[in-house]
């Protein structure tokens, strides 16, 4: 097989960081090539260079496509050459419909007018290809992150495509959706489309990759090939982090769970905009020093449940009782929820978790400015010290805490988001997809942090679409299904089948 793509000696500097250092990258025609590496290794940056986000001249090195040296001066140039990229951060316009989004920028025209009928017909076809069952007229804002991701992929497919780049496409998908996507990539491969996929989920990398390239600290470490039987978890992890990690889920000493920290009785929530109930009669409890997992499919109401608890910022109509340490509380705003000892690390860190244009220290302290101020005046030095402490303890990779959050890699943004909520010193920490887009090493770090926290008596509610994670980290698991809590299982004895059954019936 010939090489469809060769990237030669790519070096890219940002102020204070060398993101890529003399990287070379080879992709064969018609293969599925996975790019892996720790958070901040430079994967997204390399792909942004390939797709023309960074122009010729903003980096050093050459891009050779099918034997020709390319000079991309923007995404349009790379699109013209048949390169399609789906970014880590979704780029759809919430107020537009699915089909409008799909054909934005390459509208189907009859004369000089857009042919909407043809557009809709074609979009239906591509939506079917990605196994997405939504009406093309649906507004994108009404879709969950998972479905939006599929729309993005459908959009890329609708362009004439030779090389598809996916930056962590399955990060926001549940297992079923992920499987579909991986099948889809194999299908595309048989039609001659070459794919490059960035992923932190090694299981799927192993199942699908023909070649795996590992980046570490901006350098190419190695390229592993399936033909030569070089691809397996141990080898990948070892090359990624430079050491071996044996346990995926660190053990924590078994302890008798303490008194009840949070109890929710008959919680109902009605969404006025959608005009339907999103939480139905949910009752559950979380004890001190316990990790309670919440499993379920996308759209089962897990995030909505978290939001209804956390001061109900979206103004659902909520009824039911919430007790914290046995006392009934009324949580009418996130502020009162924070004061009551709750913290909520959102699943959508860019949308409602972080303030991207502000720096790391400002983001970390935002939810607890009281701690670093006297008479409402912020102590700048204390703020820096706090931020530096978290930078160290959670291992945020950045030259300085004055770095803008938008310049951090996805995984490091997630760590900032986590730091921010740990700094509110909560009693009950709700983690919504906390390891989405996080590398194996950092995942391990976050699991270790979770264990330390519960050891200190904190209670944790862990919402996750990754079954192994919920099962590996929780003490007990509630399974949600269409707004209801469909059942409760002990993590130690539960099986994946048991959970899926509760989640799907």
């Amino acid at each position: 097989m010939s090489n469809i793509l060769e990237m030669r000696n790519i070096t890219k500097d940002f102020p204070g960081v060398r993101a890529l250092d003399d990287v070379s990258f080879l992709v064969k025609e018609g293969e599925i090539h996975c790019l892996v590496g720790e958070n901040g290794a430079g994967k997204s940056t390399l792909m942004k260079i390939l797709s023309g986000v960074y122009r010729k001249g903003e980096y050093q090195g050459d891009i050779v496509l099918s034997g020709e040296v390319m000079n991309f001066h923007g995404i349009r140039d790379s699109e013209r050459m048949g390169i399609g990229i789906i970014h880590q951060e979704l780029a759809l316009i919430p107020e537009l419909s699915v089909y409008e989004n799909m054909y934005l920028g390459h509208e189907i025209k009859r004369g000089s007018f857009i042919d909407w009928n043809e557009t809709i017909t074609q979009s239906v076809e591509f939506l079917r290809k990605v196994n997405l069952a939504v009406e093309p007229e649906e507004k994108v804002k009404n879709l969950g992150v998972g479905k939006q991701q599929l729309v993005e992929i459908a959009k890329a497919l609708s362009k004439d495509l030779k090389l598809l780049i996916l930056d962590e496409p399955t990060a926001a998908l549940n297992e079923e959706e992920s499987d579909n996507l991986l099948k889809l990539l194999t299908e595309l491969k048989s039609h001659g489309v070459t794919s490059i996929m960035i992923s932190h989920k090694l299981k799927e990398v192993i199942s699908i990759a023909d070649t795996v390239t590992v980046l570490r600290d901006g350098k190419t470490i190695c390229s592993l090939s399936k033909e030569k039987n070089e691809i397996n978890t141990q080898v990948i992890i070892k090359n990624m982090v430079g050491r071996e990690i044996s346990d995926v889920f660190p053990k924590r000493p078994i302890k008798e769970a303490g008194s009840v920290a949070l109890e929710v009785k008959n919680l109902n929530a009605f969404n006025r905009e959608l005009g339907r109930d999103i939480i139905k009669d949910a009752s559950f409890r979380v004890k001190k020093g316990e990790v309670v997992g919440i499993a379920g499919l996308m759209g089962a109401g897990r995030t909505e449940l978290a939001l209804s608890l956390f001061g109900n910022p979206l103004q659902y109509v909520v009824s039911g009782e919430i007790l914290i340490e046995g006392k009934k509380v009324s949580l009418s705003s996130p502020k009162s929820a924070i004061e009551a000892g709750l913290a909520y690390v959102t699943e959508d860190r860019k949308g409602n978790g972080l303030i991207l244009i502000q720096d790391i220290k400002q983001n970390i302290t935002l939810a607890n400015l009281r701690e670093i101020s006297k008479n409402s005046i912020i102590d700048a030095n204390q703020e820096i010290n706090v931020a530096n402490e978290y930078k160290q303890s959670i291992n945020i990779k950045t030259p300085s805490v004055e770095q803008k959050v938008q310049n951090l890699s996805g995984g490091n943004q997630q760590k900032v988001s986590l730091s921010k909520w740990l700094f509110t010193l909560p009693k009950i920490l709700i983690l919504d997809e906390p390891t989405r887009g996080i590398d194996v090493g950092a995942k391990f770090e976050i699991y270790t942090i979770i264990n330390t926290l519960v050891d200190e008596g904190l209670s944790i509610i862990l919402i996750s679409s990754e079954l192994p994670e919920v099962m590996g980290m929780s003490d007990r698991i509630y399974v949600m299904n269409q707004g209801r809590i469909a059942g409760e299982v002990e993590a130690k004895t539960a099986t994946a089948e048991q959970i899926m059954e509760l989640a799907t019936d």
Binding site: I357, Q358, A367, S373, I378, S400
Partner: protein
């Protein structure tokens, strides 16, 4: 030889990196040079500069408030007529009802704040877009201004104290013919404070290993800014000294600069502008912040109204016309981002001086008023285009 070359290459890199911040100073310098040339030096005469600053006053305080409004992603179109209306109310209270001037000032400041709260209420709690609610406010207070001045027409304000606010100068400590000593002293003190605080921040940054500019660059900056402050104070000192307007302007900027930079409220305002959803989830009430920012805008509109009425020694039917545009332009020239979350009140003051210099300079060289409007409009466009372009680069 090499050292000099290094020095200049470092300087040019620094200027390029911070072109957004220095851009408005360069613009100001260019404007001043052009008008000085065409007015045969009249533009930089002590008398004209002193006047210029007094004219900047009532726009500058509005620009400060507008900066915060734009930071939280809103706009306030009503400020001009609110200022005009408040000025008229002050005049009527003094002239027709003989209310003591102190009480009048407190009362109209309160009135302005209430008007601001009303707009904030409509935006935050009724969900009206700020553009609509303040456009309505613009009409309402234009009508109100006409209503209260209908019977009387222009109301002359005879009160000495009130008129001194915009026409008086700070007293001197010693009498020296030809120079205003206290002004010079204050100028020197200002320079001293500036140098002290620059070194203090630098020391602090070094302590945490943050990036700082090299010593030679710092010295260049200090020399440059200090000489500008000294030059301006010297020019003012050879005229009447610092006016009360300038004092009010500096105090306003000082307070707002402190609030936005150092306090929890300030941080909340930037957070709401940067990402309202994230701010709300962090326990910040976006509604309360919106209310507060509009209230502050109303308060500053009242300050502006007082300054303007005092400057004219009267309340007129046309007071406040187009102030809102100058204030908005000043904020944009001063570097606030239309996307919200970014902007500094100090920048907006420079923006206000730029806009006032333009008006004053064009008047001075006798440019036709129709052309003046066009020029001001174009300058606004240039400022925002410059802002957007340089921002995207980063």
């Amino acid at each position: 030889m090499n050292k000099i070359k290094n020095y200049f290459s470092e300087l040019s890199v620094l200027l390029k990196l911070n072109v957004r911040e220095y851009g408005m100073f360069i613009a100001l310098a260019v404007i001043m040079l052009i008008f000085s040339y065409y007015s045969g030096g009249l533009f930089v005469s002590p008398r004209n500069l002193s006047n210029l600053l007094n004219q900047t006053g009532y726009i500058a305080v509005l620009a400060v408030g507008m900066t915060l409004v734009i930071i939280i992603r809103h706009i306030d179109l009503s400020v001009g007529y609110v200022a005009g209306f408040v000025g008229a109310v002050a005049a009527i209270m003094m002239v027709q009802y003989g209310v003591p001037v102190g009480i009048v000032i407190v009362a109209v400041l309160l009135l302005g704040t209430l008007i601001g709260l009303w707009h904030g209420f409509l935006v935050a709690f009724m969900g009206l877009p700020a553009f609509v609610s303040t456009l309505a406010g613009m009409l309402i207070f234009r009508g109100a201004l006409l209503q209260v001045t209908q019977g009387t027409g222009t109301i002359i304000i005879p009160n000495e104290f009130f008129n001194a606010i915009s026409n008086g100068y700070i007293p001197d400590i010693v009498k020296v013919p030809g120079v205003h000593v206290l002004t010079l002293v204050l100028g020197l003190a200002g320079v001293g404070f500036f140098i002290y605080s620059e070194f203090k921040t630098r020391k602090n940054k070094l302590k945490y290993n943050f990036k700082v500019i090299s010593m030679s660059m710092l010295l260049t900056k200090l020399v440059f800014v200090s000489s500008i402050i000294l030059l301006i104070t010297y020019i003012l000192a050879t005229y009447n000294g610092i006016s009360w307007t300038v004092v009010i302007m500096l105090v306003t900027v000082g307070i707002y600069q402190f609030i936005t930079n150092k306090t929890v409220i300030g941080r909340h305002i930037y957070a709401v502008g940067g990402n309202p959803e994230a701010a709300e989830l962090s326990g910040i009430s976006v509604k309360k912040i919106t209310l507060l920012v509009f209230a502050s805008m109303g308060f500053l509109s009242a300050v502006s109204g007082i300054l303007f009425a005092s400057r004219l020694r009267s309340a007129t039917v046309t007071a406040g016309v187009l102030f809102e545009l100058d204030a908005i332009a000043a904020a944009y020239v001063g570097g606030v981002s239309a996307k919200g979350g970014i902007g500094k009140v100090t920048g907006s003051i420079i923006g206000a001086i730029v806009m006032a210099s333009l008006s004053s300079g064009m008047n001075l060289i006798g440019m036709d008023i129709s052309i003046q409007y066009i020029v001001r409009g174009l300058v606004l466009i240039v400022a925002v285009v410059f802002d957007v372009r340089t921002r995207n680069k980063k």
